[in-house]
Symmetry: C2
Subunit: 285 residues, 2 copies
């Protein structure tokens, strides 16, 4: 069970409560970012701010740049707080941004007063074998909604992820693989996926569904520097099963190889180690 938060702010007020009239609760009308803190820094901060800006634009919350500035301000407040506790040099910051309250039913106010909800958590204690030996990935029965207008962004409508991850309860698998309704492999419930085919990296394109993770984007941007070709494209279930290697990634845990998926066992591909070393050297992951 996730530890309770060390710091909780609603805007600049230290409180753990929010008005029930908030549109985040009523409609999931908002966005969130979950950021890893290492040694008092947030290595992927620019990637989070970029993805968040795209979300602000998609949800028409206001000026993307100035709202991303506000997000950054709350991340820095949270960082200072995490710093105060020596054991929180590694931490996770979560910021939820909602369209505040008001409006007429679903219809939003044209000039919303956003609410920023900031939480600081301890960094979870992941088994080291997740990194060295890999994890079990389970094929989820629940499929992702088809919604190109909201794909890529990290909004608060997350019933797909909730229902898919509930399927992991019985098996104890660390992660679940979600398909869309066309049968494309899209992502994990809390991660993006990475395939190795002929020493080339592939990740599913997310134009129709899915969350464009910041670690995924970092690796796309830095693949060449690390020494690999990287391609975004449609990925079928069969392709996943016949890949030379498979991994899951997100900005909290970094990269975990997959050792087993849908009855197939995978060797840990050497590219996984190369990426992990790069993340350690460049981002202190």
């Amino acid at each position: 069970v996730k530890k309770s938060a060390h710091l909780t702010l609603v805007n600049d007020l230290e409180t753990s409560a929010i008005e029930i009239s908030d549109r985040g609760l009523a409609y999931g009308d908002g966005l969130f970012e979950t950021l890893r803190v290492v040694d008092g820094k947030v290595p992927l901060l620019p990637y989070h701010l970029k993805r968040f800006s795209l979300g602000v634009k998609a949800l028409k919350l206001g000026n993307p740049l100035s709202i991303a500035d506000q997000l950054e301000r709350y991340v820095r407040i949270a960082l200072k707080d995490a710093f105060k506790h020596a054991h929180l040099k590694s931490a996770v910051i979560k910021v939820i941004v909602t369209r505040g309250h008001g409006g007429r039913g679903y219809r939003p106010s044209p000039e919303p007063e956003l609410n920023f909800i900031t939480q600081v958590y301890e960094y979870p204690d992941f088994p080291s074998s997740n990194y060295s030996e890999g994890i079990s990935l389970q094929l989820c029965q629940h499929r992702l909604s088809h919604q190109p207008a909201l794909s890529g962004i990290k909004h608060l409508n997350r019933l797909d992820q909730v229902l898919a991850s509930a399927e992991l309860e019985a098996s104890g698998s660390e992660e679940g693989l979600m398909l869309d309704y066309q049968g494309n492999a899209i992502e994990g419930t809390k991660s993006n996926i990475l395939l190795v085919e002929n020493n080339k990296l592939i990740t599913p394109n997310l134009e129709q569904a899915g969350v464009a993770g910041t670690m995924r984007q970092y690796l796309i941007d830095n693949a060449e520097a690390i020494g690999f070709e990287f391609e975004e494209k449609n990925v079928s279930l069969e392709q996943l099963k016949s890949a030379d290697g498979l991994a899951v990634m997100n900005s909290v845990f970094g990269l975990w190889p997959v050792k087993e998926f849908a009855g197939k066992r995978y060797a840990v591909h050497k590219i996984c180690g190369t990426i992990q070393s790069h993340l350690k050297a460049q981002l202190s992951y």
Copy 2:
């Protein structure tokens, strides 16, 4: 702007605040019902309880019957409160039910402690011309997510409705019509739709997307008694434009004819008057 709530409860506690750790805020992990009170009664209560039970089942929140019993209990508490204020004989009760807090990220606890959030509002003052002359219906550009696993139920993931209804700001239309990604007409942003074709009633089927409204279900169940054939089927945009009559319906306002949609004007079909009279006689709408 919707008036603020007269009574707000979180479970049995009179408060207007909820913990920010609630999964309703974090993921939209829950359901809601909005119920009209007339003369101290909720005429469509059995329909709300039925739809709510289907939602409990779809989200795997627990035992549908016992959770629906709890919903009914909060509705009755709200009714008593509305009764205390003479001017609230007509009122609207909204109950949000969330999976509470806890779990590991998206993954829900196998034994969640649900939160019931109850609010009582004054009945909105709709223009009488909405009933007699009809309303303008605007074609929304934002399309509904394709998600058969969640269609029909009234869950808290409502970004589609928020974004579609934001489009009404510029035109001032009372309601917006939403299509799915196949181009089928599905529903209004806050209502279901009704077509008249050769004196027969038609409403879009909601197996792929949409909310199965309680007024819609009431009319399906009672069409024969009122004297009409009623069919659920796929409806194209063209069919909508060539219909003999068009109306929107929900459990709060009842039934409004559509006088204009996508550049086409519609006469108020006499069936609309027949249904309105029935709703007044049978449900005091």
